[in-house]
């Protein structure tokens, strides 16, 4: 029985994949009148492999970094055909293809003001190629190209602030979401689709393989990311912060100990302090602390 005709069963994602959940929620929220442009990555590879596809909407994959540009072409063609008002366009990709190699195309699409929703599935590394570090890999994370070792605590750089970069382009809607908060995610997608112009949603998508946790741990892991302040959920409309998930902040250690990629930090209070600082800064910046 098909409960999800737009993103069907039979894809080859890992069991418990956060990105699969998020991708399904996104397209279900956007609806059947949507054309999806996908970057190369886990989602593209596990959802389409000739002769199989799980996409019940028109779907195209071109290259690793150009979904924003290809989507710009799709949108332009739809305008020419007089069909843009009745068709949504979504461009999507992972954190690497969005914030690193695809940043140029994304910036161009935002700057030109295309009516496209860009969705970034943030699993915080180049997962499809084997868990290599990306610009959105958090500080001190153990990845295969930023491994923890005798002289390294993992990734030495902070997370690239793609939502802020998108915000700086002056677009109508920027939001972060999480696969661990599915209803919030659906609501944000629906809100974004209803607006005209370029929109950006970044979805924290857990990865059991790359983050090293059990396949049924998506919810506690994703929730802790938000509840510690390390992954703030917020919404900006026309440059104004109009919504955020307020939290009773938990210490970051609770989040770090759920995943193998942070195992090397657990006996190091100094590094944990640095990560706590990142969380505290987020809490302050977005005013995340619940009152009372």
């Amino acid at each position: 029985m098909e409960n999800s005709p737009l993103f069907r069963s039979g894809h080859t994602a890992c069991a418990g994949c956060g990105q699969a959940i998020a991708a399904r929620l996104v397209i279900e929220a956007a609806g059947a009148n949507t054309i999806v442009v996908n970057n190369t990555g886990c989602l593209e590879v596990f959802s389409t492999k000739y002769p199989e596809t799980v996409w019940g909407v028109p779907w195209i994959h071109s290259l690793f970094e150009n979904s924003a540009a290809v989507a710009s072409g799709v949108e332009a063609a739809l305008i020419y055909l007089g069909k843009k008002d009745s068709t949504n366009v979504i461009a999507q990709g992972g954190d690497g293809s969005t914030g690193d190699i695809g940043l140029q195309a994304l910036s161009g699409m935002l700057e030109r003001g295309h009516d496209i929703l860009y969705v970034c599935y943030d699993n915080e590394a180049y997962m499809n190629t084997g868990v290599q570090r990306s610009g959105l890999t958090p500080f001190d994370t153990n990845t295969t190209t930023s491994p923890a070792g005798a002289q390294s605590w993992g990734n030495l750089r902070p997370k690239k602030p793609i939502p802020e970069i998108c915000l700086a382009h002056g677009i109508p809607y920027v939001a972060t979401a999480s696969a661990g908060f599915p209803q919030d995610l659906s609501r944000k997608v629906k809100k974004a689709i209803s607006l005209k112009g370029p929109k950006y949603i970044q979805i924290h998508s857990s990865c059991p393989l790359g983050w090293r946790h059990e396949s049924n741990q998506m919810l506690p892991v994703s929730k802790l990311a938000v509840e510690t302040g390390l992954y703030p959920l917020f919404e900006y409309e026309n440059g104004v912060l109009t919504g955020r998930k307020q939290i009773a902040p938990k210490p970051v250690e609770e989040y770090l100990k759920t995943q193998g990629r942070f195992k090397h930090l657990l006996n190091n209070p100094e590094e944990i302090k640095k990560i706590q600082e990142i969380a505290d800064n987020n809490i302050k910046k977005y005013n995340l602390k619940l009152e009372g």
Partner: protein, 395 residues
Amino acid sequence: MKEFIEGSHAIAQIIKATSPGVISAYPITPQTHIVEDLAKLVANKELNAQFVNVESEHSAASVVLGASATGVRVYTATSSQGLFYMQEVVFNIAGMRLPVVMTCANRAVSAPINIWNDQQDSISLRDAGWFQIYAEDNQEAVDFHLVAYRLAEDKRVMLPVMVCMDGFILTHGMETIDMPEQEKVNKFLPPYKPLYKLDTAYPISMGLLADPDYYMETRFAIQETMKESIVYLSEISKEFNTVFGRDYKDLLVEEYQIKDAEKVIVAMGSVCGTIKEVVDEQRAKGKKVGLLRIISYRPFPYARIYEALKDVSKVAVLDKAVSLGAYAPIAVEMKAAFYGKKKGPKVISSFVAGLGGRDITLESVHEVFRRLNTKEVNFDFIDLKPELLKEEYGE
């Protein structure tokens, strides 16, 4: 209607006549006038198209890929570095069988940076699966764009076409051109009817992963289509002649005074105009010389070239590109056309000239005929300046 017009402006006019739905390009000398003109036409409502000003050539090609996949006629233009930047998208467009038409304003490639004409850029992308047709003059450049759309969008073909015209020489050269009238263009070029497209009414997935069980057949299919298109090019040329009154024969080669020639130069592009003058000059003095101009570089017309030159004893191939570390590109294909065959030239000599925009003068062509004798030249530069090679570096 005959107009005295700059090459780029003529190209913009003919593209306007084909009514593309989406145009996207990134500025690069010497293609700039074409896209500037198109932007003006759109701004003045003379052309109803979506003009997308992108942030790089990679995105320009991606935009036309997306628009073509949505079932709309598209256009882009580039040169040299821009073509190289969009290289992966170029291969992608051919692999996805989308009928994109692109003008390549041939320009030398970095490094060193050089904005003048040679054919290294498009020749370096010969493996991509695009048709490549080379114009000798601006009339051809204009006409070949019509041929390009007709060929690309043919349901038996569905492959992209690159129309190559020498940068500056043709793009910025003024010529009298018989600009095709709109009614005749409409007669020759029907509206684009896609075989497959992104449409919410009939959802399909495009650009899937093809593992070793499926990949090779896609390449075989493109190769077969290219082979079949040798015939389609003749068909299209005939239709073109009927509508516009200009006969491009088989759109593969042009034979110029080949019949009883003892020495023939093979070349591509605007340099052929110069070569024709030298051929006329030498013929007037009783020398039996000729020119075989290659029009279609991809698909490479091996059989046609064999037919044309099998009885010619000496052939010089004049390349405006070089495959560093090996023999020149067109020369290699020429030799392949004759190897193992019963007949063919006794000598196929290879000369490279005009790189980085160095002028190929009448004297240069005379020099080629001079060096074309019984001793085969594997590879030689024409008009080289040895005094520049004395630079030394280091201690």
